[in-house]
Amino acid sequence: MRNQRANPSALAKVVVTSVVDFTALEAAFGAALTQAPELLPRSLPARVVIKPNLCDNAAWETGATTDPAWLGVLARALRARRPDVVIDVVESDAISMYRAFRACDESFERLGYVEAAREAGVRLINLSREESWEIQVPTFPEPVRIPALFLEEFFLISLANVKLHPYERFTGILKNNYGLLPQSDRSGLHMRLPEILFTVHQLCRTDLAILDGRIGLEGKGPIFGRPKRLNRLVVSNDALAADQTACRLIGLEPDTVPHLRYAAQQSGQKREEVEVHGHLTPSPFTVDDPETVSLIIRKFALRRFHRRLEKHSERAMNWAAEAWHHPLGFAGRVARRVFARK
């Protein structure tokens, strides 16, 4: 395996800026880039892919989705560095919180992305309609379907919101990138969420992570939570470091978030390797129904156990059947002889 970072000796850098005026988004982003210009390099690849968080058909002011105004802000910043850059905004279809299919094209339309994309001159891509491949990687026990896009070279900007989550406790960049997987029903992967999020993180590294914390979501979590003004913007060249910083901003210890703890353990990233600048005073979010958390975690543990049991018994039965039928198999011959006697 290779090291993901182009320059392995470079530190992960996180900049936290304050945004009190919601309309001053461009200024706040500009201020972050002024503090750390290397976050958006001059030598950009020809293609930039932006992944917003469109987890529901809810306006950005609810704190659940990403503000479409970001498309214009990013397009201008990117073209200032490379005028011929091709910018794509990607998202996948999903099964919504209401257990109904939600087409991402509909979300693009209803959340104002179609209009914003037209104005910014960027393309909108539904990854569920694009070519995809099923792959097996050592970091996840089951096959994963990835978009063909992952085989190409591009600069990924992940645009997420700062939200609580009922059992992962926090969702940010790593969880946002889960939406890069093209299958609409990803619920089957939820019982191994830390592993799959880390796998996606490795398969498609975020080059620029932006956590729009103007309005966060506390309470019940990523869709039904209560909007809360955090008035911060977290910008980083490292997805994990950005999420960890955002966690601290809302009063959560990153190690209590299962997928962040898992990613930190697997990648071996240490806190002293992350350089953080800016306004770090926490503004704690409140969690509703903490008992639900343990209930859901227990449910997933049970599902994992059941899946493992199913897999092992299937393997044993396949092995027995192969041994039985194989013309040269020793076990098969012995078994046939033993049963023939009976």
Partner: protein, 326 residues
């Protein structure tokens, strides 16, 4: 519903039992009508497996009875049997190699035309999922222009071979014509035409080769080699090296591994195992028969045309004789 096509199977050997009978069962557009083998016991066993309506020891009984036939006989019998059936208007799907020589292949193609019958070669591997996915990746330029190929396939115990496999007169060739022809067809299917070949093998006039080695150049400039053996267990894979990466296509397992120096996923992983779901049952024979039946009805072409079958035989004969057959 369209009328079902009556199917005849010539040859009730291991290929019929293991490969063609499951395929026939998987294609409802055809009706298993008649099976023929000189050994009536074998014919009856295969008749029960499918089940076929009739069993016979004379393939000529097919004429006027069946719409299409699968020919799975020793190589020397492909031409006479296929020609007889084609002349009677029976469409023929002939097992690989299409025949022993280019001249025989030409006679088969010539026999098909006047009767309006369709002749196809049974190079089923073109329809394996990993091969189709490799073709898609190549068409997308995923590894750039292919510059080098290496393929090896061989085992001492992969298939129950009768005496006909080892007799130069009956087989027409050894490991290269029997095993290596699969890789040759895949190379043509995936990359392009052969422009030069150089062969070495251990065959004699009394014995076909048990191992053969073919070096070649393709029209696009790529170079490579095919190693086919009945003596050694080899890696059973086709490796395509391009200017921008490498693809490893499993010839037995339906595996496909992609390696690229650039690309988002390759920043962390050296290679990706595509198509990882283990498929115990190979559906390529089913797809081959389905496409052949569809082609008879005028819907598309068979997966491997007779001309493709002829080209693969031409490469092997070119290697054996040292001169490109006309």
């Amino acid at each position: 519903m369209l009328k079902r096509l009556k199917l005849g199977l010539v040859g009730a050997g291991p290929a019929a039992e293991r490969l063609h009978v499951p395929a026939i069962r998987g294609v409802p557009e055809v009706q298993a009508w008649m099976v023929a083998d000189v050994d009536m016991l074998r014919a009856r066993r295969v008749q029960d497996l499918c089940p076929f309506e009739h069993a016979t020891n004379n393939y000529e009984d097919f004429c006027g009875e069946v719409d299409l036939a699968i020919v799975g006989l020793p190589n020397a019998l492909h031409e006479p049997v296929a020609c007889r059936l084609l002349k009677a208007g029976v469409h023929v799907l002939c097992e690989k190699p299409l025949a022993r020589t280019v001249a025989e292949c030409r006679r088969m193609i010539a026999a098909a035309k006047p009767a309006g019958a369709l002749l196809a070669a049974g190079h089923n591997r073109r329809l394996k999922k990993n091969v189709l996915e490799a073709r898609l990746l190549l068409s997308r330029g995923c590894i750039g222009r292919v510059t080098r190929l290496h393929t090896e396939e061989g085992s001492r115990a992969d298939w129950p071979r009768s005496k006909a496999y080892f007799d130069p007169a009956l087989a027409g060739g050894g490991a290269m014509l029997d095993v290596g022809i699969h890789a040759i067809d895949l190379i043509r299917f995936l990359v392009g035409e052969f422009v030069s070949v150089e062969y070495s093998g251990n065959g004699t006039s009394a014995q076909v080769e048990s191992e053969g080695h073919l070096r070649f150049k393709l029209a696009g400039g790529a170079e490579g080699e095919v190693l086919a053996s009945r003596d050694r267990d080899l890696r059973q894979e086709l490796v395509l090296v391009g200017a921008d990466g490498e693809l490893r296509v499993g010839l037995w397992e339906q595996s496909l591994v992609l390696q690229r120096p650039r690309g988002k996923a390759f920043r962390h992983f050296d290679s990706l195992q595509l198509n990882p779901v283990a498929r115990a049952n190979d559906a390529s024979f089913v797809d081959q028969l389905y496409r052949f039946a569809a082609a008879i009805r005028g819907l598309g072409k068979p997966s491997t045309t007779a001309e493709d079958g002829l080209e693969a035989v031409r490469i092997v004969e070119w290697g054996y004789t040292g001169a490109r057959p006309a």
